[in-house]
């Protein structure tokens, strides 16, 4: 069964873990043992039953009532397996949120409809990150409808403001959909609620199912293999697009050396051809004189220029300065960042950047000048080769996508 990965997004306490907890219960996925354990712990902490405790399993998480680190659980619905990725909503835990959410195909954004909660900065920041992660479809789940008397008007106004923000940051209206829910009361998750008859759409799981059924549109790219290393004169790596076969000529960028494929192995077996998703081992007619780890193999005949200057969209998790280090498919390279515009992650507006530092949780449009060339591509052409990670020392300081090679 194919698995679709769905990350939760949204501000702390708006109900991400509660939603997954109740999905696990109402679909019959959570075992009796797990539910009883959550019940026992809720009681021992003097609380009402907390479905989130099925996921939040560190003692600190349960006692503190927050998700500290990301976790994943699977739910089967009809013929699709959904892997839900729970993430922390707290600002200071953004690196844990990224560690989960960056793997997702779809997102469910949770936003509380309560008047004293509503759309928070973190709600929009998470949506901005969804764009950087290339998440294809987003469900806006307007939660806690039970606490505002199931008001259609309030649902409409929350959904509309989020829609306006998504449009501003360039997410197409065909790529998201809004739904009113109560995560705690399991309303509109798996079964339609009879308290919101005005809502004519599908349940949350049915919307996800429809998204999961849609055929993925993948750009038809040429052969690209990210090379991991060498062992016994064979080069192994991961094919991220296209195919290659025995006797094809491939070149290794950024070195520009080339060779002819003599033998190919996939899953340990000798084969004629490898394709997107394989991790082959390749023997060339002549061994390379260097270790190609972190380089990219592609057809020799293709014109492709490695570059060292890019326009990029970046998001800071720690302070980012002009002198920085990037990581591209495992290689660390020194980089200079020219900050151009700061992009507000709360209203999508751009303004000229004067400072030489990007504060945490802020985004910017930048020019990146690297110390040496890398075989990167634009993000909209290749997600795998269009992503950059930024480091300050040994800690992640930001994530980014390449908008244009210069």
């Amino acid at each position: 069964m194919k698995i679709k990965r769905v990350t939760l997004l949204g501000h702390k306490d708006h109900g991400k873990s509660t939603l997954i907890g109740n999905l696990l219960i109402s679909t019959g996925t959570a075992t009796k043992d797990r539910i009883n354990e959550a019940r026992r712990i809720s009681r021992s902490l003097g609380r009402q039953f907390e479905p989130a405790f099925i996921l939040d399993s560190f003692s600190e998480e349960r006692e503190g009532g927050l998700t500290i680190d990301t976790t994943r659980v699977q739910i089967r619905y009809k013929d699709i397996g959904f892997e839900f990725i729970d993430v922390p909503g707290h600002e200071e835990l953004i690196k844990n949120m990224i560690s989960g959410a960056s793997y997702a195909d779809f997102a469910v954004l949770i936003v509380s409809a309560k008047r004293d909660e509503g759309i928070m900065d973190q709600t929009k920041r998470h949506l901005f990150l969804a764009k950087i992660f290339g998440i294809k479809k987003i469900i806006i789940a307007v939660n806690k409808m039970d606490s505002i008397g199931y008001s259609e008007e309030r649902f409409g106004s929350v959904a509309k403001s989020i829609g306006a923000y998504l449009e501003k940051i360039g997410i197409d209206s065909r790529d998201y959909e809004a739904i009113p829910i109560s995560a705690y009361g399991s309303e509109n998750l798996v079964k339609k609620s009879d308290k919101m008859k005005w809502y004519r759409g599908k349940t949350l799981l049915d919307i996800l199912y429809e998204m999961g059924r849609e055929k993925e549109k993948k750009p038809k790219n040429n052969f690209r293999m990210i090379i991991q290393g060498e062992s016994d004169g064979r080069y192994f790596g991961r094919v991220v697009s296209g195919t290659a076969k025995v006797s094809d000529e491939i070149k290794i960028l950024p070195r520009n050396d080339w060779g002819r494929i003599k033998r190919l192995y996939v899953k340990g077996k000798s084969v004629r051809k490898c394709r997107d998703g394989d991790n082959p081992a390749i023997e060339l007619d002549e061994e390379l004189k260097f270790n190609p780890r972190g380089m990219v193999a592609l057809p020799r005949s293709e014109e492709f220029n490695a570059s060292r200057r890019f326009m990029a969209l970046i998001f800071a998790t720690e302070p980012m300065r002009s002198e920085s280090t990037i990581k591209f498919i495992g290689n660390q390279i020194r980089a200079r960042i020219k900050f151009i515009d700061e992009i507000s992650t709360t209203d999508g507006e751009r303004k000229k950047m004067r400072g030489k530092e990007l504060a945490p949780l802020k985004a910017a449009s930048v020019e990146i000048i690297l110390e040496k060339e890398i075989p990167a591509e634009n993000f909209n052409e290749s997600q795998e080769l269009g992503r950059l990670l930024f480091y300050s020392g040994e800690a992640l300081s930001g994530v980014g996508i390449i908008e244009r090679k210069l």
Partner: protein, 262 residues
């Protein structure tokens, strides 16, 4: 229990095992002769065209099942494994939770020090336990083996950035994405040799294998891999329900793991 696409799981695991080998100087793997770590060795053999290019460690407390020892000898020979047996001492006054913590973990510390391993492949899976579901693919441990789960490094887009602090080591988890049933589907597909204790004997079989002191069998008539797979499709009982250490107290697994247990 969801049966996932084996090709996708297999390719990702091969990627992670190769990454460990390419990136870290001195890698070893834990091998308990159980189904998961034996499936991992099958993956490693595919990743490196027929050989397992790192030593495998058995933490032997002397009270594993006789079938387990026999299976170890047989497969080590057949697959030409570089087997390291780390003997741990069982202290009769320590049992259950402390037993796994004190005895197994201490023996592992000794063998890691002795050989200077900086990365250790461990075949845990997310679906085994809600604490293991919080793990990263590559996860640092300090010199005392402590898992600082409140300060896990970021892990974004298949980039396993974790760095070693001096004298610590990295845990590599290539099977994190797999479900119990995927392991069995994989074993069936690849005809991976398996410890006979997993098959039913007189109405009982072991679903999860630990040592003789803390593992209890489940009621089952499954005498073949097909029957085991069929049984798993219908069960609503958790895999590790036969493991004493998980049940004793509500946060036992969290404590064990933070102390260095697998």
């Amino acid at each position: 229990m969801i049966e996932q696409d084996l090709r996708e799981l297999e390719e990702k695991s091969i990627f992670i095992i190769r990454e460990a080998k390419a990136k870290f100087g001195n890698v070893a793997a834990l091998w308990s002769m159980g189904k998961d770590s034996t499936a991992m060795l099958t993956l490693a053999r595919k990743a490196f065209l027929g050989k397992v290019p790192f030593p495998v460690i058995h933490i032997d407390n002397g009270i594993d099942f006789p079938e387990t020892y026999a299976f170890r000898e047989e497969l080590a020979k057949k697959w030409k494994l570089d087997l390291i047996v780390a003997e741990s001492e069982i202290k009769p006054e320590i049992s259950g939770y402390s037993c796994c913590g004190a005895n197994k973990t201490e023996a592992l510390k000794r063998v890691m020090d002795e050989h200077g391993f900086d990365a250790l492949i461990v075949s845990i899976r997310r679906d085994e336990h809600s604490i293991r579901a919080k793990e990263r693919y590559v996860s640092p441990r300090d010199r005392n083996f402590k898992w600082n789960y409140k300060e896990q490094p970021a892990e974004v887009w298949n980039d396993y950035s974790s760095k070693l602090d001096s004298k610590g080591h990295l845990r590599i988890h290539p099977l994190l994405d797999w479900n119990e049933i995927d392991i069995w589907n994989y074993i069936r597909k690849n005809k991976t040799p398996i410890n006979p204790l997993y098959y039913s004997n007189k109405g009982y079989r072991y679903r999860s294998l630990g040592c003789t002191h803390c593992t209890v069998p489940i009621k089952s008539n499954a005498k073949s891999i097909d029957a085991i797979i069929k049984e798993l499709k219908d069960t609503s009982v958790e895999e590790r329900s036969g493991r004493e250490q998980d049940k004793e107290r509500q946060y036992v697994m969290e404590k064990l793991r933070s102390l260095g247990y697998m």
